[in-house]
Point group: C2
């Protein structure tokens, strides 16, 4: 990373609902932001960046943007925000090296229990941070983001599962401050695993059930049977986290239900993926926490069942395509 008196530069790998929103907010504040785009670059070159947000709409004209369609042409940036779906992580060997260079860090804004591990395999240990995003946001077209609700990122240093929490490093604080200066609701955490489990408490029931029951979050929370089921699933996640050494707050289940109740009606990312015929993030959101729980001697029968149901649906959706 550049010396502390220089502004940070950013690479955005994956300019979708998450990367497009946060990258756009950083660029709007004047940061040097390089967007790597897989598709739709011509539309963005024509129309620029358009963000409709509960925090205020804004546009970035095309001539103000650094757009790239080849990962090898990305300049070395201080912070590479990785915001592609974790199902695409087999591409990281192509996507990360140029942008992160010799001294950049990766900020992994992906779903799952430890999506950072895939980035560590490419750029090496000690250069990867992770963040959990709590937001309702969708990409409606290339360069066009609709940010519906919430927006917090809880970010921290990634550590291996068998290591103690990293605490809040100087670079973590610097990146957090930079995000806050761009208007992003960023919070540094000294224990990324705790934040990851906390987010899975929402992701596992609401991503999973929205696909299994073909339902919006509002339908799930407003129907007594599914709301009770979501709470039971959250209880399993909380107990598994505790077995893995991460104690979630006692009111976490009730708070998560409350947040979901107050949320705008929203299609979870997994439901959007399923409906669009894309692969769902089952490995990160289901298989990884199930494996961690099992290793810690905890069982999550409902989570396992939901994972199996989604596996069935994934197989047959694919089959029908």
């Amino acid at each position: 990373m550049s010396p502390s008196h220089h502004p940070l530069s950013y690479a955005i790998i994956g300019a979708g609902a998450v990367g497009g929103l946060y990258g756009g907010m950083l660029a709007k504040r004047g940061a040097e932001v390089h967007f790597l785009m897989h598709s739709g670059i011509d539309e963005v070159r024509q129309h620029g960046w358009r963000v409709e947000s509960v925090a205020g709409d804004f546009r970035l004209p095309p001539e103000s943007l650094h757009l790239h369609n080849d990962p090898r042409s990305m300049p070395n940036c201080d912070v590479t925000i990785l915001a592609i779906k974790s199902t695409q992580n087999h591409l990281l060997g192509e996507l990360l090296p140029a942008a992160t260079g010799q001294d950049g860090v990766v900020l992994c804004l992906q779903n799952g229990l430890h999506p950072e591990a895939d980035s560590v395999a490419i750029v090496g240990p000690g250069r990867v941070l992770g963040g959990c995003c709590f937001l309702c946001s969708n990409k409606v077209a290339p360069g066009q983001i609709r940010h519906l609700d919430y927006g917090r990122i809880v970010l921290g240093e990634f550590t291996a599962a068998d290591q103690p929490p990293a605490g809040i490093s100087d670079r973590l604080q610097r990146i957090t401050d930079d995000l806050i200066a761009a208007g992003i609701d960023a919070v540094a955490t000294g224990d990324l695993w705790l934040a990851r489990w906390r987010k899975l408490m929402w992701n596992i029931p609401f991503n999973g059930l929205s696909v299994a029951l073909d339902a919006s979050t509002k339908q799930l929370i407003d129907t007594p049977e599914s709301a009770r089921l979501a709470a039971a699933i959250m209880g399993e996640v909380r107990d598994a986290a505790a077995a893995c050494g991460r104690t979630l707050p006692t009111d976490a289940i009730e708070k998560t239900l409350d947040h979901t109740r107050q949320m705008v009606p929203y299609d979870s990312s997994m439901r959007l993926d399923y409906r669009a015929g894309r692969e769902m993030e089952l490995a990160g959101i289901f298989a990884a926490p199930l494996a961690a729980a099992e290793q810690a001697g905890a069982t999550m029968p409902r989570v396992e069942m939901l994972h199996q149901q989604l596996g069935f649906l994934q197989a047959h959706r694919r089959h029908r395509k």
Copy 2:
């Protein structure tokens, strides 16, 4: 019931996939069989009874049939075969009294853990037997039955949950022999509860998952994720049965999976109900065994989850109607 040297007479309440098949087979053999029909009586008066069966097709001409459309006009019969959906059991006060009279018995061929209890409430204790049907059969039109596979009835005397198994009574043996004489694969059991748990081992996973995952039994058994899930659900049912004092054979899960693998592709009755917008038999097949397990100190988390998912689907299917 009539003296043992007289032939038994039968009332069929619910001439659908089950009552239509077995009632038709009894009538074909020459028994006096009275069919109570809720709808479609005119079609049957025109075309008679038509059964396509793996055991041989047959027809019964209209003039040979005793058809009734008013339960009050039913004659007193020795055996009233109750084969309506258990979701209609609130009608039993109208349906049973005339047919069973003072000395008839009810043979309850319904789904669930103890569907007989509703009949006991109407005709009194000591006059109700129950049977578990293991068959693939559908009503395709009034008086037209398609019997696809299997066909066994395991029947026994009903006893209250806190009483010991009844053993094989004379009347149970007499009814069983009569059914066998009509070509029905009937087996008397001294422990109806054991047979009920044994059947639930299939009904709970395959009725439930066929609705939750919108799948045929063949898709469920051929997809590794759902086959493993079905086996896990069966394990919960087996453990709950054991807690309730009914020990299922150790190879019951493997045998049930095998039978399902060899079964013709089949839409479960619950899936047919759901697709037709009818109420599903959730009370008998899910709520009753869950309550029995809980009372015995056993938990069935996957069964409970499936019940909650079906409750959600039932609520929203209704909502959409």
